[in-house]
Amino acid sequence: MTDPVQNETVSDRNSRLYDERLRRYVTAMRNGKPDRIPMRPFVAEFAAKYAGYTCQEVTHDYEKAFAAARKCAADFDWDAVVGNMVYVWTGLTQAIGLKYYGVPGIDVPPDTGFQYHEPSEENAFMQPDDYDALIADPTAFLFNVWLPRVSSDVAPIGSPATYRNNLSFLKGGMAMWNYFMGFGRQVDLLRTESGTVHAISGILKAPMDILADKLRGYVGLCMDLHERPEKVRKACEALAPHLLHVALSGADPQKNVPITIWMHRGCVPFVSYKHFNEIYWPTLKPIVLEIWRRGHQTLFYAEGKWGAHLDAFAELPDGSIIYHVDQDDVFEVHKKIGHKFAISGGIPNVLLSFGKPKEIREYCKKVIDSVARDGGYIMDASAIMQNDMSVENMRAWTEFTHEYGVY
């Protein structure tokens, strides 16, 4: 038998690998059975550590973060990765004086991953009496009220424009342009340097999550759900079209890789079933349906425990989402919705970071034997992998998935 890949050039090899991996990854996401289980680890600070950078270095210089992700992609035989999971860039946060990020080496120790500061209830970026303005015109509210509050440089509307204010828009615009253009090139380089697929494209947040994460804060939102639930619902409805637009504007034009929704506060025990059923889900579901109607899948990155809401998710059309398991029981999830949607993750980070290679192999074998048996599974950790993830375990996990994950 002749080996078809003999004498292959590097570029031929990478383009062959890319095609194989894309097919494998997309087949699994469409709940089909590829040649073997695709692997798509969401590596963040792990990539920095592996490439020999501190968290500070990759946060300050996105070229280093990109290089680290590409080094991982080249050294480990993974099907898909994200171009940079340490997505905060100091250049951009400083250009407009963003208050809500803690940057390694500045606000937090140099080898701690970046942080997100949620202000106290009293200092929330949006106050209870701002609801009407947000509901009336979300864009105007964000530009006129929210932006000056989250930036130390942007002058509030009505106050004199300062030199810093003017510069912040110039710097911020340039920084954003540079960084986001960098992502396009990164996607290309992943393909040409190592034949790796960029795992996701386009970002979605549930309307209620945006309210909690970036506007009212979680505690504020809890008070609002108690005191003014109707305003919360209206605000979510008002935000929905904007969130749909943002998601679609970043989507993969080829419609291969999914838009990702990072799901934060809609699960047990964050909100009650009533609030999930009356606010969270009714204002999110139409967005997911519209994304699907336009031909894109959504990756439900279901942080925490969402098992109580699987029946609601099962209302979505077959194949419209890929369900990522964090703290849910991956076997139960598979039983309940595996016939409708592909599943990813469900391998606990504590096991991956601190377990023995043997324990990792045993656990993955169980998941592969049951959840991945008929395809429709993408290997990943339960949560984002930071610099606690061990390189040795990463190798063992990757090798085992390739060996044992062949169909």
Partner: protein, 224 residues
């Protein structure tokens, strides 16, 4: 039996303003501060905790009750202190170095306070040095640490090790918690106890104080 009193009702409905008014009024009527705490506030928070553990209440339900509790407590605390009434125990609480997750820690703090403990909250990103300084300055019975990231859970070990180094480890009981924390991990790093929820946190704090508890669900306590 559920106690019937407007303060209990205000706590159960999470009405902070009513809790404040009732507290002021009842005190003026001559009711002892400690009896308000023991007879109405603690039962109300315990009831909320039980419902949370049973999956009937969610975090927002606890938060609004905690707010009512804190409003009343702000009035009662100075009176209790002036009367030299001892709390169930003093707890220094914080989220460890490198970690800013504090929703769980705050709930634990609120439940402890609502169940008669005095809580000194050091906030988030708390270094071993800060924990040690707080032990020296505040003389707590218990140090509670929270971590939500696999990358920060070992800060708990670093902190315990630093406490040993500084010679203060034996002055306190160390309790830990947060999503990635398991009983094995608690054992491995030499903590005295742990729990995976706010109700269990109160139970394990009571165990640390040698008090009686009803249930040990979700609780780890070091034996021997």
């Amino acid at each position: 039996m559920t106690p019937s009193h407007p303060l209990y009702d205000a706590m159960i409905s999470g009405d902070a303003e009513a809790a404040r008014c009732v507290t002021v009024r009842t005190l003026a009527e001559g009711v002892a501060p400690l009896s308000l705490v023991n007879d109405y506030m603690i039962p109300a928070m315990e009831d909320a905790g039980k419902r949370f553990a049973a999956g009937e209440y969610f975090v927002p339900d606890l938060l609004i009750r905690a707010r009512a509790m804190k409003t009343a407590m702000a009035i009662l605390r100075p009176l209790l202190v002036a009367a030299q009434i001892k709390s169930a125990g003093r707890v220094v609480l914080g989220t460890v170095n490198g970690d800013v997750h504090d929703i769980g820690k705050n709930l634990v703090g609120a439940m402890l306070e609502g169940c008669g403990f005095e809580v000194v909250d050091l906030g988030v990103n708390v270094s071993p040095e800060k924990f040690i300084a707080a032990i020296n300055e505040r003389n707590p019975h218990i140090v509670g640490m929270s971590a939500l990231l696999t990358s920060t859970m070992y800060s708990m070990k670093t902190t315990i090790d630093a406490m040993v180094q500084a010679g203060v480890r034996d002055k306190v009981k160390v309790l830990i918690g947060g999503a990635p924390v398991t009983r094995q991990f608690a054992q491995e790093i030499g903590a005295d106890g742990s729990s995976n929820n706010a109700v269990g946190a109160v139970a394990v704090a009571k165990m640390a104080m040698g008090l009686q508890i009803e249930s040990t669900a979700g609780v780890y306590w070091r034996t021997a």
